[in-house]
């Protein structure tokens, strides 16, 4: 526990660069980024949300909020017409020209840094809590909650002797799976649970060939629920020429999880990662 707290402090020091100073007026918030929306709900400040982007699909109540579009393709006037006092967004919100236009109107915009690790999620939480001026009395309890997940994950990483060999699939294009290479959120999740990403030498999300899948032969496949559905469920996976000869499919070690929960690096990611690690035992 001490070690975790120590790491946490060190990492937070690095996070100081990011702008987590309290917002001038957080009463009407527009959010671009699912993980941020989830954290605002965790912090019980969801009544202040006036609009979210299309990646904010959890919890269910978000569907009744007006949509400002996709996080990377926002509309300046659209957002401004809702008269937000604060715009919170993930690091990749954009396009940059639109962000510039919003700047000109002098509405406060805060970009939340992304670090794809368990501790990174805590940092996001802390940052948003500060911005929204949530008092320590409320955050302590919530942070403790989140930290238990972090501890659990730390334990899993330490204890797990067998590091399961996993390939993580986002979706399919023409039957070819799009896999998580390094620097992706998928890779971050696998690192979190101490699994081995059989495609860690590749950068970014990339389609894979039959040969590379067979030569690396993952023992486990993790697929997003949407990706699985698009391929026609487990039956489709078993028929997929690229996948069907892998150990994972032959042994029935294919697991599907909610994509946003798993890869969004919001609070659900902590939970979901632990669920995943259970399945991989």
């Amino acid at each position: 526990m001490r070690e975790i707290a120590f790491c946490f402090v060190i990492l937070l020091a690095g996070y100081v660069d990011a702008d987590c100073s309290p917002a001038k007026d957080p009463s009407k918030i527009a959010i671009a980024g699912g993980s941020i929306t989830e954290l605002v709900y965790v912090l019980n400040r969801d009544s202040q949300i006036i609009a979210v982007d299309t990646t904010s699909n959890y919890p269910e109540q978000t569907s009744s909020l007006p949509s400002i579009g996709y996080v990377r393709n926002l509309s300046a006037e659209g957002i401004l017409s809702l008269k937000p006092t604060l715009i919170l967004g993930e690091h990749d919100m954009g396009p940059p020209q639109v962000m510039k236009q919003i700047e000109k109107v002098q509405v406060e915009v805060k970009k939340i840094e992304e670090r794809q690790s368990a501790v990174g999620i805590i940092e996001k939480f802390e940052c948003i809590a500060k911005i929204l001026n949530v008092p320590a009395s409320e955050t302590e309890y919530l942070k403790e909650n989140l930290l238990t997940y972090v501890t659990k994950l730390e334990e899993i990483r330490r204890v797990g002797t067998a590091r399961p060999r996993v390939a993580l699939i986002l979706s399919f294009i023409d039957g070819s799976p799009i896999l998580a290479g390094n620097t992706t959120s998928g890779d971050g999740v696998l690192k979190m649970i101490g699994a081995t990403n059989v495609f860690s030498d590749i950068e970014g999300w990339k389609p894979a060939t039959r040969e590379s899948l067979l030569s690396r032969n993952p023992d486990y496949l993790v697929i997003t629920e949407r990706g699985l559905k698009a391929q026609g469920g487990m039956a489709g996976i078993e028929k997929n020429p690229a996948l069907r000869l892998t150990s994972a499919v032959k042994d029935g070690n294919v697991y599907a999880l909610d994509g946003m929960a798993l890869l969004g690096f919001g609070p659900r990611t902590l939970e979901t990662a632990i669920v995943l690690s259970e399945k991989l035992k």
């Binding site: 393709n73 926002l74 509309s75 020209q97 510039k100 000109k104 002098q106 950068e203 999300w205």
Partner: protein, 349 residues
């Protein structure tokens, strides 16, 4: 041969002389429509604005900023891009004597797209300071368009003496190469870049701001004016290239000018707003149907009508799903495609 000097039948003579007057009237009318559409677009949007309040000074700071920094450059950009694409389409249809010609055909849009896409993918690796990074993409797109045009020009000139068939074939090859290039970049890019790319290619005027719009606008405006001046020559070119030469036209010079200038206008537009289809193809046909076939009315008419249609399409994309937006390319395709089919059915191109 001139023993008989006849009085031209009065009615026909008046009609023909009246044609010029009618053409000018049509252009004035289109200019009025453009003014009206522009005013409508400027006063409509997600944020309620009243032009009256802006004029008499009672508007709040936020409204003034939204109007002057967001809406005004956007409406101007959409108008000019619409005008450029339509004028370029009209001129290319005349140059190739082909009703299916369109700025996309000669590969200029693809070249601009390739430039922009390579900047999206490699831009992060270059690690440019923020203030350059914002303009790096439009700049890369213009370089792409100019590069394609230069290649098209040199190749067509050297190997085919600018024959229409050569230009069209080179355009096809360029489009194919650009597809490969863009596909390769899509492969090399990571998820974040990939999404930016997809949205950029769908076309949008949401990225307009004065610093990028001003230079692009001047390029487009000058280009359109130059193209309008080629009306008489392009009319004569309809008789055939040899025939146009017999009538005193330096055909090679005309082709060179038309290709370069339309490439410049289209490149500047694509650089800022991505690829927007159908306007270059469909607007000239609409003008021919409604007003006449001579380039005197066709080129300026297409420019004005193209501007009206694009401003309207952008307006639709901005107000249909507030607070987010439709990609304007989808609006123009959704309207343009059925209209195009209707044109084919009428077989009156």
């Amino acid at each position: 041969m001139r023993e008989k000097t006849l009085e031209a039948p009065r009615s026909l003579s008046l009609e023909f002389a009246g044609k010029s007057r009618r053409e000018n009237l049509v252009l004035v009318m289109l200019a009025f429509v453009l003014f009206f559409v522009g005013a409508l677009a400027l006063s409509s949007g997600a944020v309620p604005l009243s032009i009256g309040a802006l004029i008499d000074g009672s508007a709040k700071g936020l409204e003034i900023t939204i109007f002057s920094e967001i809406r005004a450059p956007r409406v101007i950009l959409s108008g000019l891009v619409g005008a450029s694409l339509a004028a370029a389409g009209a001129v290319l249809q005349g140059l190739f004597r082909n009703p299916l010609a369109d700025p996309g055909l000669i590969g200029v849009s693809s070249g601009a797209a390739l430039g922009a896409v390579s900047m999206i993918v490699f831009g992060s690796a270059l690690d440019l300071p923020d203030w350059i990074a914002i303009y790096s993409m439009p700049l890369a797109a213009i370089i792409g368009a100019m590069g394609v045009t230069f290649f098209l020009y040199t190749f067509s000139n050297y190997y085919g003496h600018f024959s229409v068939v050569t230009v069209l074939l080179v355009g096809i090859a360029i489009n194919a190469l650009a597809s490969v290039g863009i596909g390769a970049f899509q492969y090399l890019s990571d998820d974040a870049q990939l999404r930016s790319l997809v949205f950029w290619m769908m076309g949008s005027f949401g990225r307009a701001d004065w610093i990028t719009v001003m230079p692009a606008a001047s390029i487009m405006l000058v280009s359109i004016l130059v193209l309008v001046r080629q009306s008489t020559q392009l009319d004569r070119l309809q008789l055939g290239e040899a025939e146009a030469f017999h009538l005193g036209i330096n055909v090679k010079k005309l082709k060179r000018l038309v290709i370069l200038v339309s490439a410049g206008a289209v490149g500047a537009g694509v650089a800022l707003s991505g690829i927007i289809g159908f306007v270059g193809l469909v607007v000239p046909h609409l003008v021919r149907l409604l007003f006449g076939v001579s380039h005197r009315i066709l080129i300026p008419g297409s420019a004005l009508l193209g501007a009206c249609l694009m401003i309207s399409a952008d307006l639709v994309s901005r107000i249909v799903i507030i607070p987010s937006e439709l990609p304007v390319g989808l609006v123009t395709s959704a309207l343009g495609a059925p209209f195009f089919l209707w044109l084919i059915a009428r077989a009156r191109v």
